[in-house]
């Protein structure tokens, strides 16, 4: 049966909730082993392997990113910023029995060291059905201000 919008939204909402509530280990399990977490710089890039990104994380790098957040040895992430993110404007771009592409909007508010910061992004998820349920094949987070000057983002978008 074709993956429904509800199934897809349920997964990405779970991901958002985990990331806002320090559920980083569980977050790792939402991805398939060859999945990618990508934060591009160029809003028009169609492929990301051959260009510079903010993050281009395979399973190994995702694991390292989580260890960094939990390890308490990074001064910019000890403690990590607190975040609240809202997803919405969901649209299924493609869907089949095995896989789907979901695009949505995210607004995120960050609080760290008395500074409140806001981000907006378009997110495109490719989701895939596995034996253990729907998983993330890749997540591409296009920050609205990706080509502007950013400040440190020591957490997972």
């Amino acid at each position: 049966m074709t993956i429904s919008l509800n199934e897809a939204v349920e997964l990405v909402t779970l991901e958002a909730d985990l990331l806002d509530h320090d559920g980083f280990r569980e977050w790792l399990d939402l991805y398939v082993p060859d999945g990618l977490y990508i934060v591009p710089i160029d809003p028009n890039a169609a492929t990301f392997e051959g260009v510079l990104n903010y993050a281009y994380d395979d399973a190994h790098m995702r694991e390292k990113r989580v260890e960094r957040l939990l390890g308490g040895r990074s001064i910019s992430a000890a403690p990590p910023a607190r975040t609240v993110r809202m997803l919405g404007r969901y649209r299924m771009l493609e869907a089949s029995d095995e896989t789907c592409v979901l695009r949505c909007a995210m607004t995120l508010t960050e609080l760290r060291q008395h500074r409140l910061r806001e981000y907006a992004a378009n997110i495109t998820y490719t989701l895939i059905k596995t034996n253990t349920g729907l998983k993330i094949q890749n997540k591409i987070i296009k920050l609205l201000n990706s080509t502007e000057n950013l400040t440190a983002i020591s957490y997972i978008l």
Partner: protein, 439 residues
Amino acid sequence: MSGQTDPRAFLGPDRADGTIYNDPALYEMEMERIFMRNWIWVAHRSDLPEAGDFITTFVGAHPVIVSRDRKGAVHVMLNRCRHRAATVCELSKGRTSSFVCPYHGWAYGLDGALRALPQPAGYGDLLNKSELPLVGLRVEEYAGLIFATFDPEAPSLDEWLGAARPWIDLFMKQGAGWPVKTMGEHRFTFPGNWKIQLENTTDAYHFPIVHKSFLDSVDRETQDTFDFVEGSGFVEDLGNGHSVMVMIPELVDLEADLDAPIPERFQDLADALLKDYAPEQVRRIVRAVGGSGFNLNLFPNLACSMAFFRVLRPLGVHETEIRHIAIGMDGGPESGNQARLRLHEHFQGPMGFGTPDDAEAWDRVQRGSVAGRDISILLNRGLAHEEAGPDGRLRSDVSAETGMRAAYRQWLASLEAGPGPSLPAQTGSCSHKAAGERV
């Protein structure tokens, strides 16, 4: 305002006052006497490889266009129409044959010459187009690095870089025989004074402390490579505020020791490259991909930092922009360049495993520096065993603050040299030069 500021009051030979990061009048003086007098890095040759290519950037607070004209000469020109001062270009880069002001349509060539304007008859004989080009700066190039200055009296770039030139040549060996090219950048700001960043690229002392979480994320062999604070590296004052900090002596000359074993983390890359390249070239590429073992600090705004260019730009007394520009092999293997991109993303930028921790430390320096009065910032590390070599250049251990003292000596010399130059109103240019050739 800056006429009443005495820069000597902020700096001793081995210390600075905390207000050096905070004084608005001092900042204004720096912007005029350092960023309008010294050679400021504006671009790498690969940013504008072809005739008609341009980028927009800044020299200090001044927006400029860096363009390559039809004959290959590079021009650095103020991004300011000579009529009503509007910027004539807002694209970060591109290719064009002219720059047309959007306000009244004045059109300038790639060399800045005013070519045409609408309804010129309205000026009668009051206006001579040849007297109104985009205002040009002096521009010179060394080994692909393009610098500009407002100061017609500044020494040649060759003279200014001086003893730093051989280190630039060594840094460019990261092309593995191909020219070096830029491959994108991470750009971010931190709420602090620019000199905090200037100090950081010649500060090996912080590395094992601030970058614990980065070191946790790499393999043991890489951890050992980065365990350099008590190693045999050194910092050397290269004159004119420049310095080199050698962290990993065996990675100073990437073309030496090609027989050295390939680090485990690059073994897969090496195996893949063997399909297309001879074993010796594979070793050369792999060593280039790993980056150089030193940071070359070029006063005031560029560092050739291990495997990337670090460019700083003061935005205000308490706000600094930093760019970490990735570099790679222009014509070299895609797999090698991709490995470099992944290494860059791992450490650099707002989401890297290194930069956010650096930025946090700089942020803390800025915030702490306003506490109390008459409390020194110490710049004396490594002074006890600092020695002049046969060439007279001061040298101390790798975690010494020799490079900071060198930078601050030039800082003071620039500030004491008096007011900045009046703006030259002619177009400066330099000839196109082949890789490694000196202007």
